[in-house]
Symmetry: C2
Subunit: 512 residues, 2 copies
């Protein structure tokens, strides 16, 4: 059979169920194979950043890789920013990038480029298929690399002659194995926590799932350690009876102050904390001088299992269930505070909250500590334009859950085409589009840099008010029903409508 068909058979056999695609002429054999072999849902994005961001959201919520299908170097390049976020989230993704027929590469046709050079910065595994008979096993190898826990990004470059030649389905290899719990590390962490005056347990990655959080709470109960989560979690389970944790603040001076008193820091699935940007006079590392840092589990290992081993070694008992309570719906003016309160008050059980709200979204996290069980997805890599695509993919992965995109306007404008895919696929995504009509974070950063009076160019380059983006028109232009609210009461009402109805909806919040 055709190698592309053999490869899709292999993908189905491996358990791949979704392909986020924006194919071109060099991917048509892959498209035909998706028709030949049942089992993979093909989801079209109007822009590749939608496809890769959706694969990230899908991977975070299902722990399984989706395929992306992208068109040569430029098409792939459009997806790099969200692959950067996915790499930092340790999401499993298998990228398939079509390329010219191998015999055509030397012609340097207009779309020829160095795809591997583009792929390496966002992929742990890059391979260019060399022949049709290898294509299915190449795809199987990509899957095995991507599908370990935590996930990785594997990128297969696929020339057309390799797609069109003869191939056979490949055996499904073992997926990349997860590092087992290091008992020396558990003992070292146990000693450090018991020996510290002010121990801190910093959680990241897989430690932020149920089992890790419950084990961490046992450890805290037993040792008095403070539990803090990394600033931008790929996926943090929250609410209901789960132990509630704080997050490390974003700005480095605030983060340094927040953990200054700790003499012992135990890392579980988190890297040693560093400043998001390098500011003159502030060190890269946020670790208090002299503090002992002990790695219980790297982000690449099974941090939840390591935490459970540590809790057992400490003889820690189960902690009491958190007393879940959430705020009442706010009344009065609309601002980031009342927005956070309104969303926390209204979000349904099992919601998935994708937070690219930037400055507008900040109060929400605290407000939602006592909300019903939900998953919270952060901007892991700092590459903006992640929120709407990630919400799209999360909704494909979890059709029975309400997805909520808490979305800033500046970053939302990067990849707004995701709204069309939400409409096309009828996804349950409610987008709270926070229109403050500025790159507010940059205005804050200018202030932090001591610029009291920005000049006209600095003001212009951080301003989105001229002209105003009309998000109701933009959403409806892509087929998503939308409305605008400018009071908390309006927002409460629209959230109720949005969560009651099925399909996507956008609520523009006037925060200017």
């Amino acid at each position: 059979m055709q190698a592309s068909e053999a490869s899709i058979r292999t993908a189905v056999q491996a358990g791949i169920e979704v392909c986020f695609a924006n194919p071109g002429t060099t991917e048509l054999a892959w498209v035909q194979a998706l028709d030949s072999v049942p089992g993979i849902r093909a989801v079209l994005g109007l822009f590749e950043g939608v496809c890769t961001g959706a694969a990230d959201g899908y991977g975070r919520m299902t722990d399984r890789p989706a395929l992306t299908l992208l068109h040569l170097g430029p098409g792939f390049a459009n997806g790099i920013a969200n692959l950067h976020n996915a790499r930092r989230a340790r999401s499993p993704i298998v990228n398939i990038i079509g390329d010219h027929a191998s015999w055509h590469l030397a012609a340097d046709a207009p779309l020829t480029s160095d795809i591997a050079s583009l792929a390496h910065p966002v992929s742990s595994w890059v391979r260019s298929n060399q022949s049709a008979k290898d294509l299915a096993s190449d795809l199987a190898a990509a899957w095995a690399e991507a599908a370990g826990m935590p996930g990785r990004i594997a990128t297969l470059i696929s020339p057309t002659d390799g797609q069109l030649g003869e191939g056979e389905p490949a055996r499904i290899p073992e997926r990349r194995s997860t590092a087992v719990v290091d008992h020396d590390a558990v003992s070292a962490a146990s000693r450090a926590l018991r020996g510290g005056r002010h121990p801190l347990l910093l959680l990241g990655g897989l430690a932020l799932r149920d089992a890790g959080l419950r084990a961490a709470a046992r450890i805290a109960g037993s040792t008095g350690a403070r539990i803090v989560g990394e600033t931008f979690p790929a996926r943090l389970e929250r609410g209901g009876d789960l132990p509630s944790i704080e997050r490390l603040p974003y700005f480095p001076d605030q983060a340094i102050e927040a953990i200054a008193k700790h003499d012992v820091i135990v890392l579980a699935g988190a890297v040693s904390p560093v400043s998001f940007f390098g500011y003159e006079g502030i060190p890269s590392s946020l670790v208090p001088p002299g503090a002992e840092v002990v790695t219980l589990s790297s982000p690449e290992a099974d941090a939840s299992a390591a935490l459970e081993s540590l809790a057992d070694e400490l003889g820690a008992r189960a902690s009491e269930a958190a007393a879940a309570s959430r705020p009442d719906a706010p009344i009065g003016p609309l601002n980031p505070g009342s927005l956070g309160q309104a969303l926390a008050a209204a979000q349904p059980e099992g919601a998935i909250v994708v937070d690219e709200g930037a400055t507008s979204g900040m109060p929400y996290f605290l407000a939602a500590a006592g909300a019903p069980r939900h998953s919270y997805l952060g901007l892991t890599g700092g590459a903006i334009g992640q929120g709407l695509p990630c919400a799209t993919g999360a909704a494909i992965g979890c059709p029975d859950r309400q997805v909520i995109a808490l979305q800033a306007d500046g970053s939302g404008a990067y990849t707004l085409q995701a709204l069309w895919t939400q409409a096309r696929e009828g996804l349950n995504v409610v987008t709270l589009l926070c229109s403050n009509r500025a790159y507010r974070i940059l205005q804050v950063e200018l202030g932090r840099a001591g610029v009291a009076e920005p000049g006209p160019i600095a003001r212009s380059l951080t301003d989105l008010s001229n002209p105003t983006l009309d998000w109701v028109e933009l959403a409806e232009g892509f087929g998503v029903p939308a409305c605008r609210v400018d009071t908390a009461d309006d927002l409460n009402r629209q959230l109720e409508i949005g969560f009651a109805e099925s399909g996507p909806r956008l609520i523009e919040l006037d925060l200017a």
Copy 2:
């Protein structure tokens, strides 16, 4: 003074006048420098693909590099697709990419990535600034590389500590020199043209400007050579009294047939023609078997001067002025044919036509042969999403000329954020948005691949009708007045309005 300020002073001294920007925290010193030093217009794009595509359009029309100012690896990555087009267009561009402070790179903060690996595929020159005192000279070197004729893309990676330290303006170096006319090549081309039974002169790059076209017409008059332009010109001057030339067809079988009879092909600013994609059974090279191919001038050299030398060597006289005439405005139904006719009938003197119309735009080129003088800009690299940004930059570069974006819907959806920059800057761009609600070219390619009945996934992945994109709402959402037409008469009327008014306007053409 601060190195960023010294560098902007140097840029102004070199003649740089525009910066297409989407900065972030790591570029704030550059932003402040733009305020400190008068002379550079800062133009904000809502997405980096808008900035790089605009720099391409600006470069094609002014032959001078603009700056782009982009945020780390992911921000730059968003601009790669249009830099790919710019590289193929040989447009001059200087990219400035902010990076973390050099002392912060080892911390592997969330936004850290291998920027150079991303930059190399679309840059002929990549440098990472090593110290503040070198920053201005690094920028000067980037300018010198970019600003030669034809242009190139130079990319300067700029860590924040190098921006903030002390620097001095740099001496402006000589720009990269253009290869002089090769008189042996002129003689060889002269011999070949005179010796051939059916000689063909294939023009590309700088040969498609006035002087090259007029010299080519002299050569044709003297030798009987047929004049053909490359398929996707960066900038082809047309209309008025300029000699009119045909373009090589896009599909390789058509291109092979079109030039099959030629026994001699002389290349002037064009590369030897190759198929856009590699199709089984069709060779990469479109050159007829046995034909002699002679390079008069590579695309990197001054092809116009080479053509003039050749015309002189041949003793060729000036050709008669072309009899300029254009079609009447069409009546009746709207389709690609009547669209082409309507635009050719209405376009004002001096228009700049950016053609990313794909299948909908094809008839326009023939119809406009006798239109008043205009510049025609093609999709040089095949990376879609070029049209609206390129039109934006062309309008910044040529404020007194009417810019027309002949734009397909699928590719238009890639970078529609360019409309906002058009509104913000009040640019004279009329966009003809061709809504056929399909990736029609892919449907054509499926047919060419022998797929008579595409399956449901192939149909879905090439279909844009579910839901329909409402381009009037999308344009108005970004602040651009818009309307929809579904007859040729409506289109004629709206073109008249659009060309009479100043500022941007979008006309959605219902071609489904």
